[in-house]
Symmetry: C2
Subunit: 300 residues, 2 copies
DNA sequence: GATTTTATTTGTCCAGGACAAAAGAGGTGA
DNA sequence: TCACCTCTTTTGTCCTGGACAAATAAAATC
């Protein structure tokens, strides 16, 4: 069996590290250290790709590449999350642990059923706040610690999305404000957006879900076409922080002044405040923002 | 109001054209023709970005960049789809046209309700084959012709996904084969995958939906963990054709020989056959493939 | 201890050359 | 007319190595 190797494009695809970054790391730190094929092009062995994925994971937690690339192999799971982790780890809820166990056992049907039961018992709002949100935290943490595989996280996300969507569909049509929910290109994480949609819909807002990955100019056009009062975006931790401010400024400038711009998600934690953009630090704040809007627009 | 300009990274984000391509086009064809900012970096005006998006759209239809970049502004909607378009344009169904009209009117609730009705009347299989598939064609065509905005396509996709998912959720658990459905990184289009899931589930297969954008190695691990009989992937026309063969070969090599690999979607049309990979030209062929598998594995 | 200043780290951009895979054009034979 | 082979052009991707500004850490000052 041929040891499979990766082209630089394949590494970019599977790690999320750009070709430029891969080349400059090699030049500066000596890692990765790919061999060359007959054509002089980089050819990455699988184990280096694996290590790069681990490095990317630790970087999303706040570690710096210089340290990670210098340290040998001992940089494994020994590294604790370095992000200023204010939030205390969620209380070790036995039922949540059970749900995690179902995912780990790859029991899709069992997980979905358990989630439905929990939803029926808690109601949608508490389900989102007390079940989905902490579960997402737990799964994210387990993945960062290497206890969850990528596909296990995907399965969790996909099944949870289904439960949420199904529940949202049963809600009556909202009366306002009109909220447009989406994310920018290269930001595919939609679970946070769905949780927000559930909460906003419960509060009687009229949500227009446009899925993920809308180019900025199209977000503007959609807002005009739908006469949206508020545009709500989400950025995950995996999104390059560096690009966020420029993006939001561009969007804010293009959006008519009457429309509000709300942004949430883990990727916003390290972004400085931007004029005319409301940064939502969590779901509680999202609900508060809606109440504020209602207070400021009494007649609608 | 400042005319907003784009950095090269923003253009890549919003057009899907890589930085390398943008630079080499500029060198070879003289377009795009960005000005430079104080720092010597490219700064693209909005109208050039708009034209680039149009060019990308026409390229996905089979046009070649050399012609498109030489032609002046007359390259507008006058260019017909150049793809060997075997499929006759779907019969102008009045009801489908009505559904298109609802999207065009941005009537999300009305569209969703109309789709639900249609689903109830037709049943899931005919709904997928006779409603969703032709609608997706129509929307794609309208978008290519410039009659639909990006956000209108997104709205259609998002709402249709919801209807399909909801319907899939009501189906009883399948008995086999176990089918793992997903797509590779940078391929976010999920509607085709969902339609396939609906059809396969109707035929009694056990579908494991993992959402989109799974790195190759994780697809392999997921297949092992779930003991999947078949891995089914989808590539849209927007996915870079050039990368597909290498990707599939890598996946095929890493996947144990007993597992089948099925691939569908518009992006496969121009890909030559690959050993050990079953290319599905349409949904009818997908159903046939499942029947074949059943015939070859009688005892399960 | 809090805030400003300096130093280091780090990602992105640039130019322009090279090359192989894909697509078209042209030619040959059934 | 159609299928198949060969040659030419087109086109996307990769390469090197330099440069710089934004982000971060470290040092210095109040």
């Amino acid at each position: 069996m041929s040891t499979l190797t990766y082209t630089i494009a394949a590494v970019e695809r599977d790690t999320g590290l750009s070709k430029d970054v891969l080349r400059v790391w090699e030049r500066r730190y000596g890692f990765p250290n790919p061999s060359r094929d007959a054509n002089g092009e980089r050819s990455y062995p699988a184990d280096q790709v694996e290590r790069l994925r681990q490095i990317k994971r630790l970087m999303d937690q706040g570690h710096r590449p210089g340290k990670l690339l210098a340290a040998p192999f001992a940089s494994l799971a020994e590294l604790a999350p370095r992000r200023p982790d204010n939030r205390c780890p969620p209380a070790p809820d036995h039922e949540l642990a059970e749900l995690m166990g179902l995912i780990k056992a790859h029991d899709a049907a069992g997980f979905q059923q358990a989630m439905q039961q929990r939803l029926a018992r808690q109601g949608l709002q508490r389900f989102v706040l007390d079940s989905v949100a902490p579960l997402a935290e737990l799964v994210g943490g387990a993945w960062e610690a290497g206890r969850f595989e990528v596909f296990e996280e995907h399965l969790f996300t996909e099944l949870t999305k289904r439960v949420l969507r199904q529940s949202i569909a049963t809600l009556p049509a909202g009366r306002g404000p009109r909220l447009l929910l989406t994310s920018v290109p290269n930001e595919e994480h939609v679970l946070g957006l769905l949780m927000a949609e559930a909460l906003f819909s419960l509060e009687g807002a009229e949500c227009i879900p446009l899925g993920t990955q809308m180019p900025v100019i199209d977000i503007v056009r959609a807002a005009e076409a739908h006469a949206a009062d508020i545009v709500a975006l989400s950025f995950s931790v995996a999104f390059p922080t560096r690009q966020i401010p420029g993006l939001l400024q561009q969007l804010r400038a293009a959006l008519s002044a009457g429309r509000e711009l709300w942004v949430g998600g883990g990727g916003m934690a390290r972004v400085p405040p931007i004029d005319g953009v409301r940064s939502l630090g969590g779901f509680a704040e999202a609900i508060a923002a809606l109440a504020d809007w209602r207070a400021a627009h009494p007649q609608q």
